[in-house]
């Protein structure tokens, strides 16, 4: 049998380079998720307020961000801003901005959903007890809303990690780019390395995302009632 392309994986520090590339993706998504959760909670609360202008602005923002493919948003921030406004962002910064914008929209909608799913009498009872608006949110609404929210936010994290793969298309060196470099470097010695490397990346993503999505499912089941 011919020698297998899989040995490329273990030549030198190739495998560590792949993991390093994966870390770039994970790092960007985690940064974006943390920012989105904070901003999303604000957006969600704003969307439940009674001011029409604020609500409609938020709605337009949400619809636009959700309808545009994330790759289009990346192109707008990475190429568009550089050309029209002269703002040159690194690929990674552009990615964090785009995924925060997107994550905030998604998170905001989840927060809004969780907030309006809390029955009105919870707010009214809080008022009746003489709590201030802030206290009602802090001690009554948020603790209940969080239970519905946390599994959804964890789901958003896996979606974020998966979507962040797109950054390879604006030139960020992440796991797919590293794989391409390794394949090119071994083009003549190991011509069939591509299937092994891309196969490995497929399973690397699975190993990262699967436990996280299982966690979301379990929390959702446990907190159902």
């Amino acid at each position: 049998m011919q020698d297998l392309g899989i040995r490329v994986l273990f030549m030198g520090d190739n495998f560590w380079r792949l993991l390093g590339g994966l870390w770039v993706t994970v790092k960007i998504s985690l940064t974006a998720v943390l920012l989105s959760v904070a901003l999303g909670i604000l957006l969600g609360i704003v969307m439940t307020l009674k001011y029409k202008i604020v609500r409609y602005t938020a709605k337009v923002y949400l619809e636009f961000i959700r309808i545009m493919p994330q790759l289009v948003l990346l192109f707008i921030v990475y190429f568009g801003l550089a050309k029209s406004l002269g703002i040159n962002l690194s690929g990674q910064t552009a990615a964090v901005i785009v995924f925060t914008l997107w994550g905030t929209a998604e998170m905001g909608d989840l927060v809004r959903g969780a907030l309006i799913s809390i029955p009105r009498h919870q707010y009214e009872s809080g008022d009746a007890l003489g709590l201030s608006r802030m206290q009602v949110y802090r001690y009554i609404i948020l603790p209940q809303a969080l239970r519905r929210l946390i599994p959804l936010a964890i789901n958003l994290t896996t979606r974020m990690i998966k979507t962040t793969t797109l950054i390879v298309l604006i030139g960020v060196v992440e796991v797919l780019k590293v794989a391409q470099q390794i394949i090119e470097a071994n083009r003549y010695t190991v011509p069939d390395s591509a299937i092994w490397l891309y196969g490995t990346i497929f399973f690397l993503y699975f190993i990262v995302c699967w436990p996280v999505s299982r966690l979301a499912v379990r929390l959702e089941k446990r907190w159902k009632n």
Binding site: F75, F79, F202, Y205
Partner: protein, 219 residues
């Protein structure tokens, strides 16, 4: 903005939008079939197939489409399996979409209580008829919001097809930026194209959801 440039290149975008739409629709139809199969296999707890469906759903939901496409288009030819760009795109999209559709159907099927089945059996329907006339119509109306969200999600996902050398909307935009450095115009048309493609679907989905809210039985 250079309006002359924009009008000149509208046909390019229209062509690309058609390609995106065609591949997207094909992928979505196949996804629906895969999803229905996987959901039914799990609903009826068919011995071996049920496990296969479960493994497939987990694999597909936890990996990005871009990586799936790289594997299909750049990886498989190394072991002699050469697939055309368009087939790669359709296979990739269906592989990804199948699991999302399966989850949507599954949540609908699970929401129908067992007394529905029992009542249907009691009035003498066969198992096939129970599914066809009693369970599925109700489950479908519950699944519709999730199915619509998946349709929009999958059309958005087609934006990565340019990596398998398909001249989709992203490809055209990138081409124009590279050739003429008309970044603003190219991106503007890109946004408009996706709005034209997705806004009607999004509005239709919202309308459909409002209509179907009345279809729920007994609640």
């Amino acid at each position: 903005m250079d309006t002359q440039f924009i009008t000149e290149y509208i046909p390019h975008y229209a062509e690309a939008a058609k390609l995106t739409f065609r591949l997207g629709v094909t992928g979505i139809v196949i996804s629906l079939l895969i999803g229905l199969w996987a959901a039914l296999v799990q609903y009826y707890k068919v011995p071996v197939l049920r496990r296969i469906a479960a493994v497939y759903i987990e694999l597909s939901r936890n990996t990005p489409l871009l990586v799936q496409l790289f594997f299909l288009y750049f990886g498989l030819p190394k072991i002699g399996v050469i697939i055309s760009s368009q087939s790669c795109a359709i296979i990739g999209l269906s592989f990804l979409g199948g699991s999302y559709m399966a989850e949507a159907f599954r949540s609908g099927l699970e929401a129908i209580e067992t007394n529905q089945t029992e009542a249907a059996l009691a009035i003498g329907l066969e198992h096939k008829q129970v599914m066809r006339y009693v369970i599925f119509p109700q489950a479908l109306s519950i699944s519709v919001p999730a199915l619509c969200a998946n349709v929009i999600f999958l059309i958005k996902e087609t934006s990565v097809f340019s990596v398998v050398a398909l001249a989709d909307l992203m490809y055209v935009a990138k081409d124009l930026i590279g050739l003429y450095y008309k970044t603003d115009e190219a991106l503007f048309m890109l946004v408009i194209s996706y709005l034209i493609l997705l806004l009607p679907i999004s509005l239709a989905a919202a309308w459909l959801e409002r209509r179907l809210r009345y279809a729920g039985f007994g609640n």
